[in-house]
Amino acid sequence: MSINNNMIEVAESYLSGSLPEADLKELNSRLASDVSFANEFHECVNLVRSLEGNGKQKRFRAMLRDVHEKQNAVPVKKTRLINFTPQSWRTAAVAASVAILTSTITIWSLKPSIKKTDSQYSTISREVEHIKRVQAGQQAEQNKLRDIISKNTKAAPPSDVRYTGTGFALTNDGYFVTAYHVIGSDFDSVYIQTHDGQYYKAFLLNYSKENDIAILKVEKKNFHFGKGELPYTFASSKVGLGAHIFTLGYPKEDLVYSEGYISSKNGYQGNEQQYTLQLPAGHGQSGSPVVDENGDILGLLTAISSQAEANTYAVSSKAMISLLHTSTANDISSHLPKVNRLGKLSGAEQVEKMEAYTFSVKVYKK
């Protein structure tokens, strides 16, 4: 027997008790006489034992979860964590592809007054169909979700995702804004997924269908988006042509930065509550903040023009603020951040500071 060459193999047989008696004898005498060999051999034994123990434990844990699920068939909904199985993505995608057939026409419309030229104006929330298209790229995300599932098997899966958009904070304690059409009128529940992957449930406070603004709040008590107050402030009046702007949004599972400028003072068909931007934007970026170089929020993205490339429309922050004033129950407008901490920073630093306050909004249908 050449123990040195295949020490691990010997260790394995030794552990399972299948080492022939002659070999065992030789091994024992070697272990007794050669200290450095004994150390190495024990290392091998420990390694194999740990691997086997770890595997056994993993299988035992999996069985426990299964037993638990079978015995507690109606799981109690736990926290705000949403679990997705890959299967449910698929189901959602299939459901969405049916939905998209029936809703293609309505997606284009934003409000009745622009019906005639609907086809030029497309809101940019992201239907689940898009998720399907980029599904390959999201394999990693799915694996991540699967990991979450394995750790949290008990939370009930939510109903299917309908739209995703982007939202950003109005105050650090949970008030935020997104485009109204992301939420829609027949949603079941709204969750945000923050940049660190956490899900939080939110509820709708106020909205303006006409201006495509929705104000929501995270349900969780003592919730904070980030460590400090918001780094940005809100422009109270409209800004002139040519101002350089950028936006952060979630057209996919990762945060995306894009930049451009204000190309026209008013929006679609001269809408004074809007800006027209020269800015590439895609589905899922509805509700994204439009920020100028000084770190002032100028508005939020609402729609793109299907006619002119990279023509994007944004609802002005002025319209947002006037909606806040009409929110009777909570006067959020007085809590809006007053100190701008982005102004002196470089572009990349501004983005970094904003990351915690910009998040994906996921809307689940009934």
Partner: protein
């Protein structure tokens, strides 16, 4: 293994250690409810209860695997006591203010309290060890990572692995497995001079 429902706690533990499903189900059925009820009264949710109880089951599993292990109390008492400890620990980790969490001092717990504390510590050390092992496994590179996981975590036979990984026969797969183990050993224990 055991035809009729296991009714003796000693046998039940032996079956548990062997990963027997019936035994696990029986223990779960008998003892989860009380832990669940207690946890909800003490600031937890049913989901927390499932977490904590399953962790306690794993602690028990780890102990039961040891051949000369004998429980000094009933399985139910043990699981309840360990669950309590685990939950207090979890609360303490979450809270900055451990003072506000008072340990309950019911006599039945104190009697075995120290022993359970020791069991939990051993359990945590083992978890850390396994964690490190898994990290090493993740760093080892393919095909070793998948091969070793298939064998140790998913309990696949060398025949299955040979088929899945495209080795001409189980012997070749086995040779590869030992190569992988040698590499893992170096990674895990650090390179040791031969």
């Amino acid at each position: 293994m055991v035809q009729s429902p296991v009714n003796n706690e000693h046998h039940l533990l032996a079956a548990l250690a062997a990963g027997d499903r019936t035994a696990t189900e029986q223990i779960y059925q008998q003892h989860f409810k009380i832990v669940n009820g207690w946890l909800i009264k003490n600031g937890g949710t049913s989901a927390d209860a499932a977490d904590v109880f399953q962790e306690a089951m794993v602690v028990l599993f780890g102990k039961a695997e040891n051949e000369d292990f004998r429980l000094t109390c009933s399985i139910g008492t043990y699981l309840f006591a360990v669950s309590k400890r685990l939950w207090y620990k979890k609360l303490q980790r979450q809270s900055r203010d451990p003072v506000s969490l008072k340990y309950d001092t019911e006599g039945e717990e104190d009697e075995y309290g120290v022993a359970h504390e020791e069991d939990i510590n051993v359990h945590h050390e083992r978890e850390v060890h396994y964690e490190q092992l898994n990290t090493a496994l993740d760093q080892i590179g393919e095909p070793c990572r998948s091969l070793l996981k298939a064998f140790y975590h998913n309990d696949k036979s060398m025949q299955e692995i040979a088929a899945d990984f495209g080795y001409t026969n189980p012997e070749n797969a086995k040779t590869q497995k030992y190569k992988c183990l040698t590499r893992l050993r170096k990674l895990f224990y650090g390179v040791q001079a031969k």
